[in-house]
Amino acid sequence: MTTAARPLPRDLVTATVRFCRLLRARGLAVTPVESRDALRTLELVDLGDRSEVHRALRTVLATRPEEFPAFDAAFEAFWGGRTAPVPTGGPAEGPAPLVEAHFPRARDGALDFAEWTDFGEGEGEPVGLPGLSDIEATLGKDFSGFGGGELEEVARLAAQLARRLATRRSRRLRPTRRRGRVDLRRTMRLSLTRGEPVELARRERKILKTKLVVLCDVSGSMDLYSRLLVQFLYALQNQLGRMETFVFSTRLCRITEELKGQPWTAALARLGDVREWSGGTKIGESLRAFLADWRRLLDRDTVVIVLSDGWDTGDPAILGEAMSRIRRRAGKVIWLNPLLGSPDYQPLTQGMTAALPHVDAFLPAHNLESLRALAGHLKP
């Protein structure tokens, strides 16, 4: 199945390399290897057939359907011309709306993170102020009263939690001296020098790390807590290999990449581009969007944490249904509610009532002590 390669015109080569650069700028992982493959691909397809060129380049340059919209837009923008839709789209054409994996650029009025300590009011949502009379020690101090310098304490706590998480057993085996399954391969080696296979080498299941998926509410009513909680998530994200973080208010945004592997200030600057902050709350819709696009993150080894006060302006039935579906797929579902720190808080909001039957643990998250207590619940 060989194809006679025709040499490509020089300007087409240049154009293709520039197109690859454009894709890279739009967040696709296009390396020189892919650029080279793209050039070879153009020799293998009918250059007069625009949709064939589109299909072929997408096969080579995109690596997941979430990238298709970005690829298609870049292809349109770069190669211009007609707007013939390609009939074989990604899941965007399916029934579920696609969550934007990459952040939309900030529109007007993006939140200034430098002012994150100046607590503003959300869009008419109630602002809870529980536990203000707590002990003034850092641990017991309510996040709503936190200033700036507690990052270290938060980071230390995250490290502790991460260690606690690393205590589950995998189905893979590793050598052991204790009881375990017989390891025939090592037994055979031992018996060569000792004659009979009497000394059995054994294997046991190795320790497996728990996977975490965190869905954090950053709507107006959560403003008082968002800063500290996101700081905590930032610290945790950089401790755990298998953690995915999302924020939502009326829409869902994945912020795993934004939090990972960079200083807190840089992470903050990138988070500033997210326009979800301090809006209204549609928890049910956001969780449904999570299920539509990120369901594959859920399995029996995964603990899902929803961080929210439960003030939902959407349909509580949607929230209940989404929670029940998450519960069925995940190992464990934990709901952290900052308001639970207040002695007279009752989870009576419609959203909270709909969600609670589908939650394995309902815990407070208003101070560092409550986050520390979380460790005991983090095993699926």
């Binding site: 070879r40 397809v45 064939e52 997941r64």
Partner: protein, 294 residues
């Protein structure tokens, strides 16, 4: 469209796989660029079938590695034949050969069990098709190991040394996206996303796979499947369900659909109790015609 792509399309359809330009283009590129093809899509849209058809089309062997959690190199790559080794050790008990000699003997090729990956790169004759099925079920460690094999096409066995590929197999990997595969692996592959088929494609699939199905029934089934997939069910039915359903209807000698028949055969297409309840309610409310007319 390039003739080569058209030819592949014809070959695949000749092997009873109804395809579209996206699939045939991807297969064409995988064959000519010599890169593995990563196929993703919902359950039951015919991902695995691509590898089978490819093997039939190229008239070569299909070697399949089914992934599961805990899959390790002993199952995927090679394993020593322990009973045979034991027997040999026992037989040679009284021989005076040195341990080193005995060891070299029992850790040699005749005692090696070739598992799918090793088989695929050492197969005699034409390059086979290697199908790594449901890679998302295997764990991350296995994925990185596979990446290594796929980039070097050689395998090192401590007791024997390095075995290089006699040829590069055509590699097809499938994933149901129950877990996200690593970027490194994705970059190594060409990517094909298979969506649910369009109405026309599904009718063609039905006519190919269910011989003797009449035009009207095929149209009604395909239409109903399109409506069902728009309903946001908990478990959206794929092409596999379509074919099961068509087979069930054929067994019932049905030549067209009606509400009662749909109710009786619901189990072929819907696999979650809430979905079944929902459709039953719709049917009870007399919404059958909406289902088959779209």
């Amino acid at each position: 469209m390039r003739d080569e792509i058209r030819k592949i399309q014809a070959l695949m359809e000749g092997a009873a796989y109804i395809t579209d330009p996206a699939v045939s283009t991807a297969v064409h590129l995988a064959l000519t660029l010599g890169k593995p093809l990563l196929v993703e899509g919902h359950a039951g849209v015919g991902k695995t079938e691509i590898a089978k058809v490819l093997a039939r089309m190229l008239d070569t062997k299909l070697i399949r590695l089914q992934c599961y959690e805990g899959l390790d190199t002993a199952t995927a790559l090679y394993e020593w034949n322990y009973p045979k080794q034991l027997l040999r050790i026992k037989l040679e008990e009284r021989e005076t050969r040195s341990v080193a000699e005995k060891e070299a003997d029992i850790f040699s090729a005749p005692f090696l069990l070739r598992r799918p990956l090793l088989q695929a790169i050492t197969e005699d004759g034409r390059p086979p098709v290697l199908l790594v099925d449901e890679l998302d079920r295997a764990d991350l460690e296995f994925e990185s190991f596979l990446l290594e094999v796929l980039s070097d096409f050689q395998v090192t066995i401590p007791e024997i040394g390095t075995i290089s590929a006699t040829h590069r197999p055509h590699v097809v990997l499938t994933s149901n996206r129950s877990r996200d595969l690593s970027d490194a692996l994705r970059r190594r592959c060409l990517y094909l996303w298979i969506d649910y088929p369009s109405f026309d494609k599904e009718v063609r699939i039905l006519k190919t796979k269910v011989p003797g199905i009449n035009e009207r029934l095929a149209g009604q089934i395909a239409r109903a499947m399109q409506s069902l997939r728009r309903m946001k069910l908990a478990k959206v039915p794929g092409v596999a369900e379509t074919l099961d359903w068509a087979a069930a209807l054929a067994a019932l000698h049905a030549d067209h659909l009606d509400a009662e028949l749909v109710r009786q055969t619901l189990g072929c297409i819907l696999k979650e109790v809430e979905d079944v309840k929902r459709l039953e309610a719709d049917l009870a409310a007399g919404r059958f015609s909406e289902l088959v007319e779209g």
